[in-house]
Symmetry: C2
Subunit: 463 residues, 2 copies
């Protein structure tokens, strides 16, 4: 049985016990939330049996805001060991889950390694594997591909990309993917122990064909969303994940995969936010959420993206009403596009407001976003920025554990207890290195104010 | 006449013209806002006469959110050239104003240099000079100082601080400061061309004597606030800035100094936020705002500090109502204390929400906050984080210029126009260096997705 099925029957699973303890909430209250689909515990039955991880991570209403870190290779950056290191450093700095978004040719090899290497829930986007596999089979019809591609472009590609002998077929590799590729990828990954999967079930043919009516500046920017959209558009067929949703639910039920219904039409810039296409897809996702819950499949919903600050709360609220309280998993959102190199900050702002307004699960954004695949340091900075957003929200929502840490830090500052401050800090080494750079006379000052430290003066003269 | 006096008479000053043009608003609308005290243009008459800067910076309702960068030496870090460099880099990355918060012994020398070196409004906290001067005169009564200081502390100080022969008198140097010291500092700085001054006029004797009733974790954390509070407490006298507020207004009027009424009792941790002491001081400041406006003195109000995310909007709203729409100048606010080393991010979150909710002027916070005096790189990162917060708010508030930049960036991304993206970025070099680190085949990809770039696929296959 799946977590939701057990909860509906009033059964307390081992995972529910772990989550209730971690979150310091009553386990009976927790299983009611799981039964209602307001909390999910992404944990594949396979990985449970294999004991590949002992922790359990609850995501949803009343629980601490959780953080996901994306890792994974691309065809332009394909060193498996580095990606494993990224995942480990992400977890070290507080990531609650990791998604493997690999699209490189070694994607399967990497997934097996990452599943073994880490002990937090692992998510994937199976459509990537389907696309990459289709390409590998060299079934891509190059005549179709070059249809819309100018000769200049092709020439440039072959000139610059001489080492990559598949450059011709690299263009739009997913057009000739078939339904079997998609479902085979899903099933393979389920068998390997993936805990949650992003599946863009809400991009219907109707939505794709009418996307131009929305006059978007950026069009579609979700990678999986674009894969499916161009497949749908090219083949003039309905989205297989939508059309065969019941079959998808059967697979998900069998392994207790938590579906993460992807927002393929999320906005790619502030101007495109909260438009008809985005909300129409959300409406479809709302219906699919209900179906999943009825089929005893755990489900969460993914959300934007690039959203002006004033629209974030509305986005969170509407997701919660339309999707019947299903946990909301947001990417960012980014509140300005003017800071490439700093999108961990733009998304920390959006993420904090989102989590305070109802989002349950924040996908980190690194400083490299929009520019390059993140390096190890970018991953670390991205996780820390997300931790800040999550903590800001949890404090504002009144979570006891969040407040306990805040009070402990304030007391440590008051007492000039630097070791305790480092211990409580999201990045102890960084805090310590600033402190160590200070020329100071004693513990009761730093180089900012020297002997004119307010706390020092107050301690001497006001108490 | 001061800017507010001219505006009340319906006169359009040169500064009002510059601001109206920069902000793309009607100058008659602007001077109405200045007349009502909802917009200030900090510009000392002296500096105007001296033509020491040609720009004018408007702060307040309907205008772009402005950013201040604090620089200045402490006794532990006193290299004037470095501080000048910090100011220049802050302005290069978008700071609209600079405050010199020096407390080192070369404080006067530094101020003269910084006023000459930069062309944006410059602010100070004159009480620092008063304190440092009082100490220099060696009038500090060491018997009083050691009253509350244990022998162990003194011993430790003299042991660790052997190079600093004023270590004995360094303790609580402001106790023996007299009223003349304070007003002399204010007048000297006004004559030198300082444009706005933080003055903690609202810390009354009554507030100081009753601060313990608030059971604060952190007590008083404003440096100027602690100077005055310990002076008041020690001498059992009323705050000279409160008692002689009319005299202060006369000086401010003479030079058209914009008063920045300091929040000496701002909270130093989330737990202390929005308490009775903070709001009681704000109530006093509200009365002082009215008095200033009647005396034709430009005035703004300073605000917290450390505030849980859910309390920020309320803090902004209450300031606007109590202080009669006076521009609100906030430090941060920081939304969690768990991220020392990352307080540029914690305050970007708070600053964005604050500016969206009514704050007009954001004081940057650097990554070094709570740990050390910032270095040049910290200053840069602090300014960029504040720019992000300001832009996020300005977009959410619907400012045309903010939206124009967002649209241009989205278009540049859509077009793979990297040069344009760098040009629009808050830190072009950083964005460029990420881009340059990418192994790519052509302009239409980055190392994140390689050939699976969503925009690339959509361009080929969906348009």
């Amino acid at each position: 049985m799946t977590q939701i099925e057990e909860a509906k029957k009033g059964n307390i699973t081992e995972e529910a016990k772990i989550v209730a303890k971690d979150e310091n909430i009553d386990v009976n209250k927790l299983i009611k939330l799981i039964a209602k689909g307001e909390v999910v515990i992404p944990k594949n039955k396979i990985s449970k049996n294999k004991n590949s991880y002992t922790k359990a991570c609850g995501i949803g209403k009343g629980l601490k805001t959780k953080i996901n870190a994306n890792i994974g290779s691309s065809s332009k950056m394909e060193e498996i060991d580095i990606e494993i290191k990224k995942a480990k450093i992400a977890i070290e700095y507080g990531a609650d889950a990791v998604m493997d978004l690999s699209t490189g040719s070694k994607l399967k090899e990497f997934r097996k390694k990452i599943i073994k290497a880490i002990d937090v829930p692992i998510g994937t986007v199976p459509i990537y594997e389907a696309g990459v596999e289709a390409q590998k089979r060299k079934k891509v019809n190059s005549k179709d591909i070059s249809k819309n591609s100018s000769k200049n472009d092709s020439k440039k590609d072959s000139k610059d990309n001489s080492k990559d002998n598949s450059s011709e077929t690299n263009e739009n590799p997913i057009i000739d993917m078939n339904e079997d590729d998609i479902f085979k990828a899903i099933e393979n990954q389920a068998k390997e122990g993936v805990d949650f999967m992003t599946l863009h079930c809400g991009i219907t043919k109707d939505l794709v064909e009418n996307i131009h009516q929305n006059n978007r500046v950026m069009g579609i920017v979700s990678r999986g969303g674009t894969f499916l959209s161009s497949w749908i558009h090219h083949n003039q067929l309905e989205n297989p994940l939508y059309e065969n949703y019941e079959y998808l639910l059967e697979i998900a039920y069998e392994y207790d995969i938590t579906l993460s219904l992807g927002d393929g039409l999320r906005p790619g810039c502030l101007e495109d936010a909260t438009d008809i296409a985005q909300i129409q897809e959300l409406v479809t996702l709302g219906r699919l959420v209900k179906q999943a819950k009825e089929a005893n499949v755990q489900v969460m919903v993914e959300g934007p993206g690039h959203v002006p600050l004033d629209q974030i709360a509305a986005n969170m609220k509407i997701q919660k009403t339309i999707c019947d309280g299903a946990p909301f998993y947001v990417l960012g959102p980014i509140v300005t596009d003017l800071a490439p190199g700093y999108d961990h900050i733009t998304s920390a702002i959006g993420g904090a407001i989102a989590a305070y307004s109802g989002a349950d699960f924040l996908c980190y954004v690194t400083p490299a976003e929009h520019l390059a695949i993140p390096n190890i340091d970018d991953v670390k900075e991205g996780v820390i920025a997300s931790k800040i957003a999550a903590q800001a929200a949890d404090v504002a929502l009144g979570l006891d554990s969040a407040w306990d840490d805040e009070r402990a830090m304030a007391q440590a500052r008051k007492n000039f207890d630097w070791e305790k401050q480092f211990q409580l800090a999201f990045n102890p080494e960084k805090a310590k290195s600033y402190r160590e750079s200070c020329p100071v006379d004693d513990d009761k000052m730093c180089s900012m104010c020297g002997e004119y430290c307010a706390i020092r003066i107050a301690e001497k003269d006001l108490e």
